[in-house]
Symmetry: C2
Subunit: 205 residues, 2 copies
DNA sequence: TTCTCATATGAACAGTGCGTTCATATTCTA
DNA sequence: TAGAATATGAACGCACTGTTCATATGAGAA
C-alpha cells in the first residue's frame, strides 16, 4: 500500500539477514501465495507479487522454490485440508456417494474449483507443478480409492473381474471431465446417479 | 535460418504491404504455429517466434489473433482431422469401442496427446483458449456422442432412465482423467473393458 | 486506367516478469 | 567469540507482450 521508505535510490539501504528467520519467512510466503492463489488466481502468483505481499525479498523466493508454479502447488497443499479417509461402513454404494459428495462439495463450496483447475492446467506444461500434483495429490488419492474398492471386491460387492482402476477413472474422471474439459462443473445432486451408473451400468437388466 | 537482409538499423528498410495477401499470411502463420505447437509445445508458441518462423510481422499476428493461446487453438483445429462421425452399425458396444479406440489412437499415435493436454491446460487460465476449445471441440463432440447414445436408448439398448451425459462423462472422462490428472495415458487395449464397465457396471449380476 | 482504401511491414517504446549476481548486514551455532 | 548461514536490496540482461507510428504496396472501385 504505502511506499517503502527504502525506495530512494542512491541512499544506502540496509540489506542483511532479514528481521525474520527462515521458517518464519517460508510461512509468510506460503500464506501470501495461498491468498493470492485463491483471490486472484494462478496467473497473479508471480515471485514479484508474492514477495511484495509477504514482505520478503524476491531473491529469497528464488532460493526456496524453483518456480512460481512449484510455490503455488505447495501453497495449495498447505492450505487444503488433509485427504479424507475413505469411509467403510460396509455399504459400498453409500460410501462412494459420501466420498464423491465430499469431493464435489470441496470443489464447489470450499473454493477449490479454481485452484484445482488452474493447477492441473499448469501441470500440463510446468514439470514442477506436474510432479508436485502427482506425488502429493493424484496418486495418493487414487490409491486410497482403489483400496476401498478392493475391500469391496473381496467381499463380493464387486465383480471379481472388475477393473478397479477403470472404476476410479469413471467416477472421479467424470467429475474432472466436466471441470476441465467441458467446464460445466459437476453438481452434487448428480453423485448418486454417477455411482449408480458405475455399479449397475447403463445397459438394461 | 539466414539473417534477414533488412536487419541493419539506421538504414531505412521498406515497410509496406507485405509481398503476400492476407489469406496467404494467415495460412503461413497457422502452419508455422502448428509446427511450433507439435515440435516445441505450447510454451514455445509466442507471437514473436511464430512471426519469425512464418516470415511475417508480429504486428500482423496481433491484428488477426487476440493472444498466442487463441492462435494455438486455431492452429491445432486447423491441423486436427475433422471430427469423426459416430458409427451406427446397430451394435452399440462395438460402435463405442470403435469410437473410443479412434480417440485413444489419435492421442497416442498421431501426436495429439501433448497438444490436447497443453490446450486443455491453458484453457484453465486463458479465456481465449477456453472459448475456442469449448465451441470448436468439446461441446460438438459431446453432442455427437449423446446423439448416438440416445438412438441406442430408443432402441432399448440402454436403460430408459440412463443419464446419457453421465455415460459420456464416464467414457471420455476416464481417458481425460488419465491424460490430465494422473498423467498416465489410457492404453487402447483398455477400451473394451472401459465400455464393458460403462454398460454392465462393476457390481455383480 | 486511375484512384483510394485496406493492410502488411519494420521500428520503437513501455511494462512485466524471470533468472542471476553481488555486497552487505544480521542471526544462529559451535 | 568466531564463523557459517541466510535474508536483503540493487542491478543487469533477457524474453515476451501490447501498443503506436509512418510507410509502402496490392487489390478493388470508379
Amino acid at each position: 500500500m504505502s511506499e517503502n521508505a527504502a525506495v530512494r535510490p542512491g541512499r544506502p539501504v540496509r540489506p542483511g539477514r532479514g528481521r525474520r528467520p527462515a521458517t518464519e519467512v517460508r510461512a509468510a510466503v506460503l500464506a501470501a501465495a495461498g491468498d493470492l492463489l485463491l483471490r486472484d488466481g494462478l496467473q497473479a502468483l508471480t515471485f514479484e507479487r508474492v514477495a511484495k505481499e509477504a514482505g520478503a525479498s524476491r531473491t529469497t523466493l528464488h532460493k526456496w522454490w524453483p518456480s512460481p508454479g512449484a510455490l503455488a502447488a505447495e501453497a495449495y497443499f498447505a492450505r487444503s485440508r488433509p485427504v479424507l479417509d475413505f469411509p467403510d461402513t460396509g455399504d459400498l454404494r453409500a460410501d462412494l456417494v459420501t466420498q464423491l459428495r465430499a469431493f464435489v462439495h470441496w470443489l464447489k463450496d470450499e473454493g477449490a474449483e479454481r485452484p484445482v483447475a488452474e493447477l492441473v492446467g499448469a501441470a500440463q506444461t510446468d514439470p514442477d507443478v506436474a510432479r508436485a500434483w502427482s506425488e502429493n495429490y493424484a496418486r495418493p488419492r487414487r490409491e486410497l480409492a482403489r483400496e476401498r474398492l478392493r475391500t469391496a471386491q473381496r467381499q463380493g460387492l464387486l465383480r471379481a473381474d472388475a477393473d478397479l482402476d477403470i472404476v476410479v477413472d469413471q467416477l472421479w474422471g467424470a467429475c474432472y471431465h466436466r471441470l476441465l474439459v467441458l467446464r460445466t462443473p459437476f453438481d452434487a445432486s448428480l453423485v448418486p446417479r454417477l455411482v449408480d451408473h458405475a455399479l449397475r451400468g447403463a445397459a438394461p437388466r
